[in-house]
């Protein structure tokens, strides 16, 4: 039984030019104790997807328009009234934002912010909450934790702040942490440390993590399974090594081919021409078809191409390209 099951999630954003379907029928599962990566370029809907899980839109004119978000032992988060969902946030599912500077209250000391998370959800005394905060800072390997408890966020470096944010996320031992581009704003050496920290915490506590990023390297580094997202839909899912070593959807292949990491210096890079489609009036059928080198007529006929197991792919490796032959698997 999966920890989190997302079924046909749809999220809409109001914009002056119309309603944008940022998430258009997304389904995937996250297992207990696994690190699941969602990767895609800007505007693909990966951030909207993970915010939809907790309906954390930060005041933006967005709403979950359909689908289910089933959390084991709790219920359907998408249908839950706001008051109940507020209890789930932090306690069962925690969220880590991209910019640690704005995720922390600049006028409150670190220790107080962490303790506040604990005090809000658990009936413990202040001394106990403070001691728990200290231990959490130790768990995330913050040096001189006693001193840091009294510090303000702006006194800490970016990496330290992100550790504090992770400590706060772990404060109530949630089953699931959603991390939205947690290392994008950090130096690469600090990113390395933070990603290791996340993996280490998962190893100790068994917490599942959904990691949203644009960086395929980050996914390769710590994720177990992954999903590739384009224009509001998933185009490929599977174990990380299967997807990255043997990509099967044309978009995934194009994305990997555009990276300069492995290309020899005397060859040109292969960018993806064109731009992602509008989410207000998207093209019919497969949304990548207008930019796809392999597109044919049947790519734009019919509705959204489903994620299905294809011939030659490892178990659990699915893609949404109608040109790939489907493996007939018993339902």
């Amino acid at each position: 039984m999966s920890l989190l099951s997302i079924r046909n999630l749809q999220t809409e954003f109001q914009s002056p030019s119309g309603i944008a379907r940022a998430v258009d029928g997304v389904s995937f599962d996250v297992e207990p104790g696994e690190i699941f990566g969602i990767v895609g370029e800007s505007g693909c809907g990966k951030s909207a997807t993970c915010r939809s899980i907790l309906r954390l839109f930060g005041g933006a004119p967005a709403r979950v328009a359909g689908g289910q978000v089933l959390l084991q032992g709790v219920g359907d988060l998408a249908a839950m009234p706001e008051r109940e969902l507020a209890q789930v946030r932090g306690r069962d599912v925690a969220f880590i934002f991209q910019d640690p500077l704005t995720a922390l209250n600049p006028t409150m000391r670190i220790g107080k912010q962490i303790a506040e998370v604990i005090l809000r959800h658990r009936k413990v005394g202040r001394a106990e909450a403070w001691a728990a905060a200290l231990q959490l800072l130790r768990d995330v390997h913050v040096t001189s934790p006693e001193r840091r408890l009294d510090a303000y966020p702006h006194e800490l470096s970016g990496g330290l702040r992100q550790r504090v944010v992770i400590a706060m996320a772990l404060a109530l031992r949630p089953q699931l942490i959603i991390a939205d581009e947690p290392t994008t704003a950090l130096d690469v050496t600090v990113q390395d440390q933070i990603l290791r920290l996340l993996r280490e915490r998962r190893d100790s506590l068994g917490t599942s993590i959904i990691l949203v990023t644009h960086d395929l390297g980050v996914v390769s580094q710590i994720c177990d399974r992954m999903a590739v997202m384009y224009a509001g839909r998933l185009v490929e899912t599977g174990r990380v090594r299967d997807v990255l070593d043997a990509p099967s959807h044309p978009y995934t292949k194009a994305l990997l081919a555009a990276l300069p990491g492995q290309i020899s210096r005397d060859r040109e890079l292969t960018p993806i021409e064109g731009a992602p489609p509008s989410l207000i009036s998207p093209p019919p059928g497969c949304r990548f078809a207008p930019r796809c080198a392999f597109a044919q007529a049947r790519c734009i006929d019919g509705g959204p191409p489903p994620l299905l197991p294809r011939a030659g792919l490892a178990p659990g490796h699915l893609d949404a390209c109608v040109l790939n032959e489907v493996t007939h698997v018993a339902a």
């Binding site: 130096d187 290791r196 390769s220 990255l244 194009a254 890079l269 960018p271």
Partner: protein, 320 residues
């Protein structure tokens, strides 16, 4: 082709002192953003400058193009010390943020024609237009782009316009400060290809500032690694990535995630960039270096490490 050289370039930013500090007689502190940089740019090369936050690469870029002065040492361009941006427009710059690097209220054509009018004042209106069209074509933008405003263009297109603007005066050296960092990977490739083509076909010298080791490895001929204001290693790109000589370079390369494999097993370097205000003698990486010894705390200088490479570490393999 004019030479560009940095000779012991220094740049400090004095920090404003509060009244209490003045009364207490505390000495003024400065942020040493760039310390003693010696660097010669070879004509026709693509030189990469990499480093993490606080290393001074952006400041060095601005000193190199003449936007900021050197507080110590000098930048020599075409045999003369640089005193502001080159009046002939031979030194140009491309910036990082596609959203603030173009005037939102002027059409692309107007912005580009303005540059051409400034550097080739004898051209007629029609000739200016033609030149602008020519430059747009060089950066692979359709002629209609001239009629558009920046908000109608994508991030990648805007960066092309920025490059076009820098090309209008007919520069010899282009300093690009993180030109692709704000773009998606699939779009980065377009701009990187463009820069490579400009370098190859027009002999444009490019100084490419970046924090992205993968891009630098692919694009650059030589690479300078900066840490806390100093260059710690300078090598041919292939040599640097095959056999990085400085411990910081090694840590930097090891930290870059590789799509082909899971995380390396080697332990990452501990800690973070230390307080840039701290006055340190000797190697500034010593506080985090796994190989640190007592001798590391005396001033370090660049030593040859390969036929063409230099490294600021007495423990690095040296050439005879």
């Amino acid at each position: 082709m004019s030479q560009l050289e940095f000779h012991k370039v220094e740049r400090h930013f004095p920090v404003k002192r509060g009244l209490l500090d003045t009364l207490a007689g505390r000495p003024g502190i400065s942020l040493h953003a760039v310390r003693g940089v010696d660097l010669g740019v070879r004509p026709g090369e693509i030189l990469g400058i990499v480093g993490e936050s606080g290393c001074g690469k952006s400041t060095l870029a601005r000193i190199g193009v003449g936007l900021q002065p050197a507080d110590g040492g000098a930048v020599i361009f075409d045999g003369q010390p640089l005193d502001g941006p080159d009046p002939a427009g031979r030194l140009q710059m491309v910036f990082q943020d596609p959203y603030s690097s173009l005037n939102p209220r002027m059409t692309i054509g107007a912005q580009l024609e303005e540059v051409v009018a400034r550097y080739q004042p004898r051209l007629s209106r029609a000739e200016r237009r033609t030149r602008v069209q020519g430059i747009l074509a060089e950066v692979s933008l359709v002629p209609e782009t001239a009629l558009k405003f920046p908000h109608a263009l994508s991030g990648g297109q805007r960066q092309r316009v920025s490059i076009a603007r820098a090309l209008c005066p007919g520069p010899e050296i282009l300093i690009a400060d993180e030109p692709v960092s704000a773009l998606d990977a699939s779009v980065q490739a377009q701009i990187i290809n463009l820069l490579k083509r400009l370098n190859r076909d027009k002999g444009l010298t490019i100084i490419f500032i970046s924090h992205d080791m993968n891009v630098v490895r692919y694009l650059c001929d030589r690479v300078a690694v900066m840490y806390l204001g100093e260059i710690v290693e300078l090598q041919e790109s292939a040599d640097l990535f095959a056999a990085p000589a400085h411990p910081y370079t090694r840590a930097l390369i090891a930290a870059v995630p590789d799509v082909r494999r899971r995380q390396a097993l080697a332990e990452p370097i501990a800690g973070e960039i230390p307080d840039p205000f701290a006055v340190l003698t000797g190697c500034r990486f010593a506080t985090r270096c796994p190989l640190v010894e007592a001798a590391c705390h005396s001033p370090q200088s660049m030593r040859p490490t390969s036929p063409t490479g230099l490294v600021r570490c007495w423990k690095a393999p040296a050439t005879a």
